[in-house]
């Protein structure tokens, strides 16, 4: 049977887009059927976000056409795109946190009476109906600020579907969620699928793609390189398509490695109410130690406190047999500890500054000769890290905001190790970046640990910890409850231990 174009929900034909002579999308075409879920995948910088922004009306295509149900769609602005039936859920949450769930969902379509006042009862009933449909544990009058990030994400999606869109775009909906929350969100997305929503799903996580989508469209360097049913691909094939060459996956440590017995860092009886208490642990020279725990287990606060962000109520710490105070990050830096923060954009980088400036931010003293910055020393550092981490940039004068997420993360990593710390606390060191960039960072973490750098790492992905670490400590309700050495790593056991209700 010859398929008629008008039967298709969405037809993207030969769409091209360039910014200042830089082509980011080149003759991209794909189609979408009613009720279909397609995964749009590609490395950072492949053109996914540009494609999506064109669909939602934020960017205008240079040439090509986009048809919705056979008719040329008006995507001239975000408003026009919404009216054409495209609704988007953003990566960064955009809810008003001191307003209720109901207010947020219907913010663009509040039921009002003759005096333009809100009809509260009707608003709550509409919201309740929507919540009931999806069987979610949320109440219409809950304040957004009181909900977990995962539930906020669900509210965000409900807000998007409240206008009955034809196409729903989900951009990395799990990027800020922990595993338990992801499960809840997945249940919700399954429900959306069953109800016949047509979804474009964007994600870096391979497992999500294969779980959720029907069809996969792969973009690379602005071109479509594959468009097929997900059954025709596997993870390895997909990664090869994304990076465009035979990918040798970085498998990390093989078996047990020889470890130094020398203790570099030790913590005794660390307490900080209400986050953690009685925390004891040691890190050996050149060891990679993982903290596993769910959100709210206290692992984030523990890492921050080790770096002087927040004050200890009790406990002592030593590095190289010297007691440390950890009153402030600058104290800790002087003692040889550095932190790679969780959020590269808000906590890590100086986005409007150059790559060069970003890399020297924690080492201004080291690259100063007399009173002036020493360009030779800076060049040396930058060349070394650009090579070691495989950072792609046009020059070190490039403003970091315009690098891809993976390259930004690499610069952040370079900035942290440029000071040559003895202990690096890496918080989610590969969050939201593509597989190739991930592998580059994992590799250098292992290389540096071979050279004697000790690393404490936390991650939202347990796989990552199991691949990286020599030892994993499970933190549950603010206490270290179990310890696993590399040879005893068992995903299921660690997960149970993370979620197990610790009671005294």
């Amino acid at each position: 049977m010859i398929e008629n174009k008008e039967d298709k929900l969405l037809c993207v034909n030969n769409v091209t887009k360039a910014f200042y002579g830089n082509t980011v999308l080149e003759h991209v075409s794909f189609e979408m059927n009613h009720g279909e879920v397609i995964g749009l995948v590609g490395q950072n910088g492949a053109g996914k976000s540009t494609m999506v922004k064109i669909l939602m009306g934020a960017y205008q295509k240079d040439s090509g056409s986009i048809l919705i149900e056979g008719k040329e769609a008006d995507l001239g602005s975000i408003k026009a795109a919404t009216q054409s039936g495209i609704s988007m859920v953003f990566q960064e949450l955009s809810l008003a946190s001191n307003m209720t769930v109901a207010d947020n969902i219907f913010i663009n379509d509040l039921p009002t009476n003759a005096f333009n006042l809100i009809r509260k009862k009707e608003l709550y009933e509409k919201t309740q109906k929507l919540i009931h449909e999806f069987n979610i544990d949320i109440f219409p009058d809950d304040k957004i600020g009181d909900l977990t990030i995962g539930k906020r994400q669900i509210v965000e999606i409900m807000k998007a579907i409240s206008s009955n869109p034809k196409i729903l775009i989900l951009d990395e909906p799990t990027s800020s969620l922990e595993e338990a929350e992801i499960k809840v969100l997945f249940k919700f997305i399954e429900e959306l699928k069953r109800k016949g929503y047509s979804i474009i799903y964007i994600s870096h996580a391979m497992s999500e793609i294969f779980d959720i989508v029907d069809r996969i469209v792969v973009l690379r360097d602005g071109k479509k390189v594959e468009d097929c049913k997900k059954e025709e691909l596997d993870v390895k094939k997909l990664i090869n398509l994304m990076i465009g060459k035979e990918y040798e996956s970085y498998v990390g440590l093989q078996g047990e490695r020889k470890r130094s017995e020398e203790v570099l860092f030790s913590a005794k009886n660390l307490c900080r109410k209400p986050y953690f208490r009685d925390v004891d642990f040691e890190v050996r020279t050149g060891e990679i130690l993982g903290f596993a725990g769910i959100t709210g287990s206290g692992k984030t606060e523990l890492c921050e406190t080790l770096f002087g962000v927040g004050k200890l109520d009790a406990g002592t710490m030593e590095i190289g047999n010297k007691g440390i105070r950890a009153y402030s990050p600058s104290d800790c830096k002087e003692d040889g500890i550095l932190l790679l923060p969780e959020n590269r954009k808000t906590q890590g980088l100086f986005l409007d500054s150059t790559v060069r400036n970003n890399i020297i931010a924690s080492i201004v003293k080291k690259v100063t000769t007399g009173i002036f910055l020493d360009n030779k020393k800076i060049d040396q550092k930058i060349n070394a890290y650009q090579k070691a981490l495989n950072i792609k940039m046009t020059s070190d004068a490039q403003i970091i905001r315009f690098l891809s997420g993976g390259n930004q993360q690499k610069v952040l990593f370079a900035k942290c190790i440029a000071d040559e710390p003895k202990l690096l606390i890496a918080m989610d060191p590969t969050r939201g970046i593509d597989v190739a960039a991930k592998a580059d960072i994992h590799k250098i973490m292992h290389e540096l640990s071979e050279e004697g750098l000790s690393i404490i790492v936390i991650s939202s992905e347990l796989d990552e910890l199991m691949m990286l670490c020599d030892r994993i400590l499970v933190i549950n309700a603010g206490k270290i409850i179990t310890e696993y050495s590399r040879q005893d790593f068992d995903e299921e056991e660690i997960l149970v231990s993370m979620h197990h209700h610790a009671r005294d």
Binding site: V309, T346, D352, L373
Partner: protein, 318 residues
């Protein structure tokens, strides 16, 4: 050869270039309009007029770079003059009087710094309060009459000629040159740009944000003090309203020169050019004889134009 090329490219990519071109164009056009405009005497008075604000703008630029502001510098300058006067009345010699004045200015800057950096009070509000408090102190201490008639020995510091130029011009150029180089090239000063660019990231990079911020306000107070010392000598006494409203001109000049009110950006060269634009405009009005009431309106328009140009450039370079 290659070096030459890179210097040309460097000059062409300078953020201050449009401002510099505008100034040169303005001067050329104005000298056709009025024969008295581009004369040694008139140019001398333009530079003399901008010398006091040039000194203040150094401190203000550092504050803007690290994402702060100081509305009290006009009051600090006035207060400095009064303290100098009191010291002279008590029989202090000239150097001692200067030290007393500078000390007073620095202490006010330190108070600002402590409240803003350590207690984390909003800078705009804190320095607005300080502007009122210090201005009030001037009136209280002098019972509203200031300290007129300084001795000639003191006034000489701002009235002598050095290399044929009025002393304040030389002082300001020396300070501008020193801090221009330091702001651009010193690693220690680079830290202020980091704080203004992203305070949390700076903190987590081990930069001592509180300490540096405290320094920035102290430094700004000190620079306002230097300008106050010179202003009083120039005037030959301390009037209670001395320096009033100067902070707004100084902030406007820095912003015209490319400093960002949201931090992370700003250079001494740019800020100095900003000061120069403002004095040139004021001077041009006087020389050409245009209605004086238009001055503030034109200056305000220039400020707006400068911010919009900057925004446009930033968008284009994306």
């Amino acid at each position: 050869m290659q070096n030459n090329k890179s210097i040309v490219r460097k000059v062409l990519s300078m953020r201050e270039l449009p401002l510099l071109v505008a100034i040169i164009l303005g001067v050329v056009i104005l000298s056709f309009y009025s024969p008295t405009f581009f004369t040694t005497g008139n140019m001398h008075s333009v530079f003399l007029g901008s010398a006091f604000e040039s000194i203040k703008v150094i401190g203000m630029t550092l504050l803007l770079i690290q994402n702060g502001i100081d509305l009290s510098i006009g009051s600090i300058a006035g207060f400095t003059g009064v303290m100098v006067g009191i010291a002279l009345d008590f029989g202090a010699n000239v150097p001692m009087a200067i030290v007393v004045g500078l000390l007073a200015a620095t202490v006010v800057g330190m108070v600002n710094g402590f409240i803003i950096a350590h207690l984390k009070i909003n800078a705009m509000i804190c320095t607005l309060a300080m502007q009122m408090i210090v201005r009030g102190l001037i009136f209280i201490v002098t019972r509203g009459v200031g300290r007129p008639n300084f001795p000639d020995a003191y006034n000489a510091i701002a009235r002598i000629n050095i290399f044929g130029l009025q002393a304040p011009i030389i002082y300001s150029l020396v300070l501008l040159a020193i801090f221009g180089v330091l702001f651009a090239k010193s690693g220690w000063f680079r830290q202020f740009y980091f704080i203004g660019g992203n305070e949390e990231a700076a903190q987590l990079s081990g930069i001592k944000v509180v300490k540096l911020r405290f320094f920035a306000y102290t430094f700004c107070g000190f620079m306002a003090g230097i300008s106050g010392v010179l202003l009083a000598a120039r005037m030959g006494g301390a009037i209670p309203t001395q320096g009033q409203g100067m902070e707004m001109n100084v902030i406007a000049a820095a912003v015209i020169g490319g400093a960002s009110i949201s931090g992370g950006k700003g250079t001494i060269l740019g800020s100095f050019l900003g000061v120069l634009v403002m004095s040139l405009v004021i001077n041009a009005f006087n020389v050409i004889g245009v209605d004086i009431y238009w001055q503030r309106t034109i200056l305000g328009s220039i400020l707006l134009l400068a911010i919009m140009t900057d925004k446009f450039r930033a968008r284009k370079s994306n």
